[in-house]
């Protein structure tokens, strides 16, 4: 019974949102607002059950881990944002989180996003037994990356053999990259629609199996 009512309500909301394709209407707007409210309410509940209770309330009151009151007080300073005279206090928790997370992230981001990526671009173009497609691919990858980087390098005018030709090749490479992204984007958007159609036809109407 619970599941059946649930499926019907879900189907009604699905159709209400699709009604936007014809014209904006009150049902669509209600759905939009409910989504904001419910997700925020969900957020509150999970913050209590996943964080505050097991990591703060229980350890402090059952195991006397008073030290945890320090992050709690720091976190509570966020609330001062609503009181203009002392709103500057909300900078303290922000400063703590910003500073430490930037510091922790710096060496790791450098490794993940820069060093490893540079390392992966410095590769032997040919190795014995390699099929010609991979050889061609490696050439495109190494010189294409270089050319695209030149295109993004704005400190020098894009003229001459290196910067001029390089940036011209670079823009071609970037266009191919964007084309691939567009092709995949089409696939992704259609997949989302397929998911909803599957729900309507299978779970709600039961006309497919």
């Amino acid at each position: 019974m619970y599941e059946t009512i649930g499926i019907w309500v879900a189907a009604m909301f699905t159709l209400a949102i699709y009604s936007f394709l014809y014209k904006e209407n009150p049902l669509y707007r209600l759905g939009e607002h409910l989504a904001v409210g419910i997700s925020t309410g969900y957020f509150i509940v999970l913050t209590y059950t996943q964080v505050l209770k097991p990591r703060l309330i229980d350890p402090v009151f059952q195991e006397s881990q008073w030290i945890l009151l320090f992050p709690a007080v720091l976190g509570l300073l966020y609330v001062t944002r609503f009181f203009p005279k002392i709103a500057w206090l909300s900078r303290y928790p922000m400063a703590f989180i910003m500073g430490t997370s930037m510091g922790v992230g710096f060496p790791l981001s450098m490794k993940a996003s820069v060093l490893r990526q540079l390392e992966a671009t410095i590769l032997p173009l040919y190795q014995p037994g390699m099929p010609w497609q991979d050889l061609a691919g490696n050439i495109v990858l190494v010189f294409g990356t270089l050319a695209a980087l030149i295109y993004f390098f704005f400190s020098k005018p894009h003229k001459g053999l290196f910067f001029g030709t390089g940036s011209k090749i670079g823009v071609w490479v970037i266009m191919i990259g964007f084309g691939a992204t567009f092709g995949f984007t089409v696939m992704g958007r259609i997949s989302l629609l397929i998911g909803r159609v599957q729900f309507l036809l299978k779970d709600w109407l039961g006309v497919i199996h």
Partner: protein, 333 residues
């Protein structure tokens, strides 16, 4: 504006286009083509990696997506979890956001729903407490003892899954990137208890895998750049192997991590999930593929329609002479 046939065509009320795409996404469900989906190396590499793992290993399955990308990410997460459960690989479930935890619950309920074929029958933490007290925590011994006590696996079930031995639902925590970092030292320090309030430190799977250094693979299913946190804070910190399941929109952005060796492989969009489902079927884990594979027929038809729109739009644009005059079409709806 030139009101020839091409002009009228380009000014077609877009709701007609909406109708076409809607119809094309419905009809193939009734007239399936059943064309084969051939797995690619990006997906096979993840499958083969998990094939090498067993009950002595452990993996993370992180639901890092919101309901918005559920149709793409959920089938991937479901396929990997079913594979891991079938091989008795312990699975830690996490989520990078509150709504993502809801998706975790939803995906887990789908895999363990007793009404569906090939589901996994859950034995909760409290249900097998007496066996723990007797010191039975080894996976095969536990299953043998459980069945010896008269518990019979239902016909439509694919196997038992014991909470705390085969899986632990850790769920969501804020600043999840830093939580990953924290788990490189200790999982229990980050999650004193699981989503159901069970103490994590007492779980056999946690005692055998105390931190991410003792975990063999982290799989992340994501519709945003959150998946890269596992590389930055897991892979680069302690060398944790990572595999991605990402939405098609972001799939082309992350293939660089396959080439650089930072991830084991990647499932991109519904197609990636369908490939994994096909592999599960081909290797004899399940009789038939799941939802993603069924959706690929519709994907076929929709891609052809969009291709037709692109070609027709270009023909109308050039044949109508709009490329010469720079005339902007007006009155579109």
């Amino acid at each position: 504006m030139k009101e020839n046939i091409w002009g009228r065509m380009l000014n077609l009320d877009r709701r007609w286009i909406f109708l076409f795409i809607g119809v094309v996404c419905i009809v193939p469900f009734f007239v399936p083509f059943g064309l084969p989906v051939i797995p690619t190396r990006h997906v096979i590499s993840i499958f083969d990696y998990i094939e090498e793992l067993g009950p002595e290993n452990a993996i993370f399955v992180s639901f890092d997506f919101d309901p918005g990308t559920d149709p793409e990410n959920m089938p991937m997460a479901v396929a990997i979890t079913r594979h891991a459960f079938a091989r008795h690989i312990p699975v830690f479930f996490t989520a990078n956001g509150p709504l993502a935890q809801g998706m975790l619950e939803s995906g887990f309920a789908y895999i363990t729903n007793p009404l569906s074929e090939g589901y996994f029958h859950v034995v909760s933490w409290s249900e097998w407490a007496s066996y723990r007290e007797m010191g039975i925590t080894d996976r095969s011994e536990l299953e043998a003892a459980w069945e010896a006590d008269g518990h019979v696996l239902p016909d439509n079930a694919a196997g038992w899954v014991f909470e705390g031995r085969d899986f632990a639902k850790l769920g969501y925590l804020p600043y999840f990137s830093l939580v990953i970092l924290g788990m490189t030292s200790s999982i229990a320090a980050q999650y004193p208890e699981d989503m159901n309030g069970n103490p994590l430190v007492e779980m056999p799977m946690l005692q055998e895998h105390k931190n991410l250094r003792e975990v063999d693979l982290a799989t992340t299913f994501s519709g945003t750049a959150a998946c890269t946190w596992w590389i930055t804070f897991g892979r680069e910190k302690i060398g944790l192997p990572v595999a991605f399941g990402v939405t098609a929109v972001s799939a082309t952005d992350y293939t660089i991590f396959i080439q650089s060796g930072q991830i084991v492989g990647q499932m991109g969009g519904l197609r990636g999930a369908a490939e994994y489902e096909v592999l599960l079927q081909q290797r004899g884990y399940f009789d038939k593929p799941d939802r993603a594979f069924v959706g690929m027929d519709v994907q076929n038809a929709a891609h052809l329609l969009i291709l037709f729109f692109i070609v027709l739009g270009n023909i109308a644009y050039f044949a109508g002479g709009f490329h010469k005059k720079g005339v902007l079409l007006k009155g579109r709806r």
